[in-house]
């Protein structure tokens, strides 16, 4: 028996990497991330800008919208009107390039830092504010909006998105799902299990990993020994792309192509978007403890995703200072209006919380609800409870 096993082992030939695999390994995962515009907004050599002026202006409008509401929401938190906030600043291109590539019937699965992507796919901005106010209506998205909330558990949305994609495949729908995660999420089990399932099922699924350099304070180099995050795709047998996440056109092109492949049964894609979180992790985080001013300044001054598209729009004659002023003022008013409504959104009566745990409350819940009602009634009558 031992001989047989040995013979079998000797007969085993390790699979030889094909030329294609080797090429993919070197060019797809380890060269410079794919970009369309240089940081100053000039097109990269040999690259044509084929996107329409309308689309480019739409991208820009959304990115400015994000930049303005992000600052306003952080302020709102500082005023004590939200429990916390996870700033998006610096990641606008990665989120808008991803989100605008979706069709209405595609589903988006974001994390708590992906409010801009969610809003661009139809989630009312009010819901982002409600989310950080701990309001139960946060994820009660309108019926025609295919946004599955803002996940708090790291990477947990990835298998959900794979499951919905699987459902689309079973239902023979020409649609796909897109999940967003961060670089820290690549260390989680759910990242692995989700991508592994997606690869085996050839699910119509795209994962955009926004590598913003930091998981709170822990740098990307401490998350994984992999040289890039995109190369992890190779191990799952799926397509991988390494993209400049601060280049909205590059992001849009790669995500759109990945969604097209997904819709046509060509399987999932992992896209690493190289970007940078210019703000703190959350409202209670002090990034001075873990990153240098020089690093921050470099990304702020030389790699700002808004400046890049702005540079191109100026260069192409599609934009000027007057339009910039007008857009900013218009968006400020719009956002002010949303915020003032959102902070006034009443919380439901506490008893209503029993209505949504199950489709039909259990007898135990009915009794607890009655007890809560009685307590609230007595409180209104001025009876003091210890």
């Amino acid at each position: 028996m031992a001989n047989t096993a040995q013979e079998q082992n000797e007969g085993f030939q390790p699979p030889q990497p094909t030329r294609q695999t080797l090429q993919a390994t070197s060019s797809t995962y380890f060269s410079q991330p794919f970009s369309v515009l240089a940081p100053d907004g000039t097109p990269q050599p040999g690259i044509q800008i084929e996107e329409s002026a309308d689309l480019l202006l739409k991208m820009y409008r959304w990115m400015v919208y994000g930049r303005i509401f992000d600052a306003r929401l952080l302020n709102l938190q500082r005023q004590g009107r939200m429990f916390t906030y996870a700033p998006i600043i610096g990641q606008e291109a990665a989120q808008i390039g991803s989100s605008l590539a979706l069709r209405q019937e595609d589903w988006l699965f974001g994390s708590y830092r992906d409010g801009l992507a969610c809003v661009a796919h139809g989630l009312p901005l009010e819901h982002v504010i409600l989310f950080f106010r701990g309001h139960p209506k946060a994820m009660m998205v309108p019926p025609d909006v295919n946004v599955f909330g803002q996940q708090i558990g790291i990477a947990e949305q990835i298998p959900h998105a794979v499951g919905v994609a699987w459902g689309m495949q079973l239902r023979k729908q020409r649609s796909a799902t897109l999940a967003l995660c961060g670089d820290g999420a690549t260390s989680e089990g759910a990242f692995h299990e989700g991508l592994n399932f997606a690869g085996v099922l050839k699910a119509p699924f795209v994962l955009v990993c926004q590598n913003n350099g930091l998981a709170i304070s822990v740098p990307r180099a401490k998350q994984t020994a992999s040289e890039t995050l995109a190369q992890k795709a190779l191990a799952y047998g799926i397509a991988g792309r390494y993209v400049d996440g601060n280049d909205v056109i590059a992001m849009y092109r790669e995500v759109r192509a990945a969604l097209e492949r997904a819709r046509h049964g060509e399987g999932p894609t992992l896209i690493e978007a190289v970007t940078y979180r210019l703000g703190p992790h959350s409202a209670s985080d002090d990034p001075k403890r873990y990153r240098s001013d020089a690093e921050l300044t470099m990304w702020q001054d030389e790699r700002d995703p808004l400046a890049r598209l702005h540079g191109y729009l100026l260069h192409a004659g599609l934009w000027d200072e007057q339009r910039q002023q007008q857009l900013a003022s218009e968006l400020r008013d719009e956002i002010t209006h949303v915020i003032s409504n959102a902070v006034m959104e009443p919380f439901p009566e506490p008893e209503a919380l029993f209505d949504y745990v199950y489709a039909t409350p259990t007898q135990t819940q009915v009794e607890q609800r009655q007890a809560l009602s009685a307590t609230l009634q007595s409180s209104k009558k001025g009876v003091r409870f210890p």
């Binding site: 909330g149 699987w166 079973l170 799902t177 759910a190 299990e193 745990v357 199950y358 259990t362």
Partner: protein
């Protein structure tokens, strides 16, 4: 009517559900070609195809996580976890995700998935293959927990669980899989979730049990009948929602109660049942409610006989509560 054991009843329920409702699909490790390690899904891939009976990668969190997506999208996934101990690897997805989807979205999304898993000891299986972990699920609002004890209930409760609009943890008694056949109806029928059954009427002591412990209670009842002691045995069938009314009515009649479960005693489901009795029927009691449970230890599989509740321990508990006299 056909004679079926419990695992055959599960197989029959799955067959009926898949025939009646094209949204129902089965997923898990070895559920396809192999028909499940206990044969619960035997023959289903041949009948319904590999799009509806899916051999997944070996990853419990991936199974539950993607089942959540399928359920949210409108399918009715029935996921199998080979042994309940392995569900721990999917706990975050079950307790923090599946259970909360309806609440998080105020009903905009729901998660009608069923997770099936065998649990409990008594068949000499190794560690992680014999744990009774039901309390963890019972403690999680948003999940329903079902634990049938016989083939008839196994089929009817599984069909009810698949119909249910919320996530259901469906626990199968490992040692009860092939414990005996009984006549069960062919075709579709349900046993409602949240209704206990009085499986033996009696007058002296109420014994509350579920899953494999129901047989232990009935064995003790049979032996005590020879001594002239009459046990009323309640099979809870569903742990969430809990049928408190049936428990309370019985305790008001017998004035004595015992809860049996395999799981460790501390913070087990028995503790909740004792609390419910105390809150609703304390003045009917002539003795404190007793618990016959597993101990707060980690039992090596080779020593499970000294750990699992048996008829002898139940009889001792019955004598103890009956001997308790008012001062």
């Amino acid at each position: 009517m056909t004679q079926r054991n419990l695992i055959e009843a599960v197989n029959d329920a799955l067959t009926v559900a898949m025939s009646e409702d094209e949204r129902v699909m089965i997923m898990g490790e070895d559920v396809g070609r192999n028909g499940g390690v206990f044969r619960a899904t035997n023959g289903l891939i041949e009948r319904f195809g590999d799009e509806r009976v899916v051999d997944t990668p070996l990853a419990e969190a991936g199974i539950v996580g993607s089942a959540i997506g399928l359920a949210v999208y409108g399918l009715r996934p029935v996921a199998e976890i080979q042994f309940l101990g392995f569900s721990m690897q999917a706990f975050a997805q079950l307790l923090l995700q599946a259970a909360r989807i309806r609440m998080r979205s105020l009903g905009r999304f729901s998660c009608p998935l069923v997770l099936r898993a065998p649990f409990g000891g008594g068949v000499r299986s190794l560690e992680l293959h014999s744990d009774a972990l039901e309390a963890h699920f019972v403690h999680t609002p948003g999940l329903k927990v079902v634990a049938p004890a016989n083939p008839y209930d196994a089929k009817g409760l599984l069909l009810a669980a698949i119909e249910d609009p919320d996530p259901v943890i469906y626990l199968e008694p490992l040692r009860g899989y092939r414990a005996g056949r009984s006549e069960i109806p062919d075709g579709y029928y349900t046993v409602p979730l949240g209704k206990a059954a009085i499986v033996r009427e009696g007058t002296d002591v109420t014994v509350i049990a579920w899953s494999a412990m129901v047989a232990v209670a009935l064995e003790a009842a049979e032996m005590l009948a020879d001594e002239g002691i009459s046990l009323e045995v309640i099979d809870l069938r569903t742990l969430v929602p809990l049928d408190t009314a049936t428990i309370v009515r019985s305790v008001q009649k017998t004035a004595h109660a015992i809860v049996i479960h395999e799981a460790p005693r501390t913070a087990g489901v028995g503790a909740e049942i004792v609390a419910q009795i105390n809150e609703r029927a304390l003045y009917s009691l002539e003795a404190p409610v007793a618990r016959v449970t597993g101990y707060d230890i980690i039992p090596p599989a080779g020593m499970e006989d000294s750990y699992l509740p048996n008829a002898t321990r139940v009889m001792q508990a019955v004598h103890a509560v009956l001997d308790e006299q008012e001062p």
